[in-house]
Symmetry: C2
C-alpha cells in the first residue's frame, strides 16, 4: 500500500480542517490552497495563499500533489482538467465539479436521469423571469457562484419577481415539504458505493443556513431506503469518486425530491465524526485513495448545532457558555479556528450524542441557548 | 471564556500528534518542540527543532506560549520552574515532572502516601546491588532516563545481578501478577477529578511494550472501583493538573500494586478516542485549560493493537494489509507520521470497537496477523 502521499485540498476552510484531522491518521501530508491568509487550515497543513479561480495558481499548486480534492466547489475547472490529463488524481473529477458549479446543469442532469426533483425552467435574465408569474410561489437560483444561502431567492408574489437574479438562473416550483433530509454517499475508484443513514435538517428561517440537524431522521424505513437509493443512484450515474451530499425534500405525500448536491464533505455530515462507525471525512479519504469504504452504521442518535456568529457582533470572537455546555455528557465541540466573527458566520459546530432522543433534543436546546459567539 | 490560546507541547511525537488532533476542536494553536526534524508533529503545528533537555531552548520556547504541557517527561525541569515563576501555566507542574523523572522518588512517594506498590530498596551502584541476592527474582530499574522498556532489567538469578544498572536505581520484588491494568485519571486546576475505566494490557514478552490492550478490563466491580480509587488518590495527593496514567499489577490474591505512573496521555488510553465519551487527549486539554472534565464512560468494548516495526526491517516504511483490515467494521487506523521504520518502533496503533467482546478479540488477532510495517 502506497501511503505517505501528498493530498492537495482546494479550500482551507472548516471542511478542510476536519479532513486534515482525519488525514493525520493515514500519514497523508495535506497541502491546502485558500485566498484567505487567516483560513482555518493555515496552521495545521502546508498552506498556500492563493486564488482558487486562477488557472496558474490552481495548476501549480496541483502539480505539487499526488491526489487532489476540494472542500469548496468554486475552483478553476480548466486547471483541474489539465492536471487530470497530466496524471494527477483529481477527485471529484473536474467534469463533475463543473456540472455541480452550475445549478442549471445540475437540474438538467436530474431530468435526464429521471431523478426526482422539483419542476423547473431555466431563465436567462430578469426580463425573462417576469414571464413566469404562473410559477409562483417559486425559488429562483443563480446558476453559478451561489453558496451557503447566497444566490437563492424565494419568490412568493408578482412583486417578488423583481428580486430575482438578472443572470442565468433556474426557477423551481416551491415545494411545500414536510421535512428536509440529507444523505451522504461515497464511491471509491473501484466503484464501491456506501450511503450514510439519512439525517433531518432544520433551517434557520432568516438566513437559510442549517441550524440543527438530527440523526437518524424520523422517517419510515421505506423512506429511509428510498432516500439512500436516490443518493446511490446519483453518485453512480455521475460515476463520481469521493463524497456526495444529497439534500432532499420529503413532501407531505411522502415523495422525495432532490434539492441540491455537493461533491465533498458537508455540513449535514459533521455528526458522523462522533456518531457513526466511520466519519464522512475518513470516508471521503478512503474513497479518493481507493481504499475500502467504511461501515456507515450509526452508533448513537445525534444532533448537530451550528455555532453561528451572534447577530449584532463583529470583530475578534469571544465564546460564551463553554463551561456550561462542556459539563453535559456527549457534547462535542468543534471550533473552526476563525479569529473574526460576524453575524451568522459559521464559527464552529457542536455535536451531541445521546442514546435517548428526548434527552438529545433537550441538550441541543440547552447548547443553542447557552453557547454564543460574540465580539 | 479565553480561547485562541497558544499551547506549547514539549515533544513532537505521536502523543503530541493526537493531542493536536483534539486541540484543533478548541481553536488552540499548538506549538511543539522536538529534537527530531522528522518528528510526527512537524507538519501539523508550529514546529521548533530543539533539545528538550537544554535550559535555554526550553525557556525560550516556553516564553512564546500561554500554557505548556508535555508529551514526554524528559524535559529540562529548571527551565519549566523558571517559566512557572514568570507566570506561564505549566501542567503537569514542574515539581511533579521532576518527581516522575526519577523512579526512586516515585517509589518513595508511594511509600510515604501509603499507596500500595511492590516492596523495594534503593541501590546506588552495581556493587551495592550484588548484596540483594535474597530479593530475587526482582526488577531493577534505572532511577532516571528509562523510557518505553529501556532502563528496566528482570533479575532472576544471582548471575543476572551483573546485568543490573551501575547507577542509582531501585530494586523491586518481582510481582507474580494475574493481570496488568491501567487507569487514566485527570484533574483540572479547580480540583475536579475523573478516572477512565480500567483497561487490561498484554505486553510483548520480548521487548516489553504493550502489544494489545482490552477495555474494559475483565475484573470484578470491586477491583474496578479499587483501581480507579488508587488512581484518583495518587493524582489528588500529587495535586497534579493534567492527565495521569497509572499502571498497576493485579496479583493472584486480588491485590492492586502501583507499578508506574506517567503524567501525560498514554499508550493505554489511545482507545478512548473512539470508545469513550471523551478521549484522553481532550480530557488532558480540558484539565490543563481548567475546563469541566468530560464524562469518561465507555461507549463500546475496545481493543488497541500497537503497530510496531516488523523485526528484520529498517528503512522507509511500507504498510502491508491496509485494505484487508479496513474492510472490517470498527477498525480505526492511527499512523504516527514516521517515515522510517525499525524493529519494534511504534509506527501507529489500531483501535477496534465492537459490542461483542468475542468478535473484538477475533478482529484484534486478524489485525495483528495481517497488518505489517516493513521496509
Amino acid at each position: 500500500m502506497n501511503i505517505n502521499r501528498k493530498l492537495g485540498v482546494f479550500g482551507g476552510g472548516q471542511l478542510g480542517r476536519m479532513l486534515i484531522q482525519s488525514a493525520i491518521n493515514f500519514n497523508w501530508e495535506v497541502r491546502t490552497l485558500d485566498p484567505d491568509a487567516q483560513a482555518p487550515c493555515r496552521n495545521i497543513s502546508h498552506f498556500t495563499q492563493g486564488a482558487l479561480k486562477d488557472y496558474q495558481t490552481v495548476y501549480e499548486f496541483g502539480k505539487s500533489c499526488d491526489v487532489l480534492t476540494i472542500e469548496i466547489e468554486a475552483v478553476n475547472v480548466e486547471a483541474l482538467k489539465q492536471l487530470e490529463k497530466e496524471g494527477v488524481k483529481v477527485f471529484p473529477q473536474p467534469h463533475i465539479i463543473e456540472l455541480i458549479q452550475d445549478k442549471r446543469l445540475q437540474k438538467q442532469f436530474y431530468r435526464q436521469e429521471q431523478i426526482p426533483t422539483a419542476d423547473f425552467v431555466l431563465t436567462e435574465n430578469r426580463e425573462e423571469l417576469m414571464r413566469y408569474q404562473d410559477w409562483l410561489p417559486a425559488v429562483h437560483k443563480l446558476g453559478k457562484d451561489g453558496y451557503d444561502g447566497r444566490g437563492v431567492q424565494i419568490l412568493r408574489s408578482v412583486e417578488d419577481l423583481s428580486k430575482g437574479f438578472d443572470a442565468p438562473g433556474v426557477l423551481e416550483r416551491m415545494i411545500p415539504f414536510e421535512k428536509e433530509l440529507a444523505v451522504i454517499v461515497a464511491r471509491n475508484e473501484s466503484g464501491e458505493v456506501k450511503a450514510f443513514p439519512a439525517v433531518e435538517m432544520a433551517f434557520h428561517p432568516e438566513h437559510n443556513l442549517v441550524e440543527y440537524l438530527f440523526a437518524p431522521a424520523e422517517i419510515s424505513q421505506a423512506t429511509e431506503v428510498k432516500a439512500q437509493e436516490i443518493a446511490q443512484t446519483i453518485i453512480s450515474k455521475l460515476g463520481m469518486v469521493g463524497l456526495l451530499a444529497v439534500e432532499m425534500f420529503l413532501t407531505k405525500e411522502g415523495e422525495i425530491l432532490v434539492n441540491e448536491i455537493a461533491p465533498r464533505p458537508h455540513n449535514s455530515g459533521h455528526h458522523t465524526i462522533e456518531a457513526n462507525q466511520v466519519s464522512q471525512y475518513e470516508q471521503h479519504l478512503r474513497a479518493i485513495m481507493n481504499l475500502p469504504l467504511g461501515d456507515t452504521e450509526a452508533l448513537s442518535p445525534a444532533a448537530m448545532v451550528n455555532v453561528l456568529g451572534e447577530a449584532g457582533f463583529s470583530g475578534e470572537a469571544r465564546y460564551e457558555g463553554l463551561e456550561e455546555i462542556l459539563q453535559l455528557k456527549g457534547v462535542h465541540l468543534h471550533l473552526y479556528g476563525k479569529t473574526l466573527t460576524k453575524p451568522f458566520r459559521k464559527m464552529g459546530h457542536i455535536t451531541i450524542t445521546d442514546q435517548s432522543v428526548e434527552s438529545l433534543k433537550e441538550k441541543a436546546q440547552f447548547v443553542k441557548k447557552h453557547f454564543k459567539v460574540k465580539a
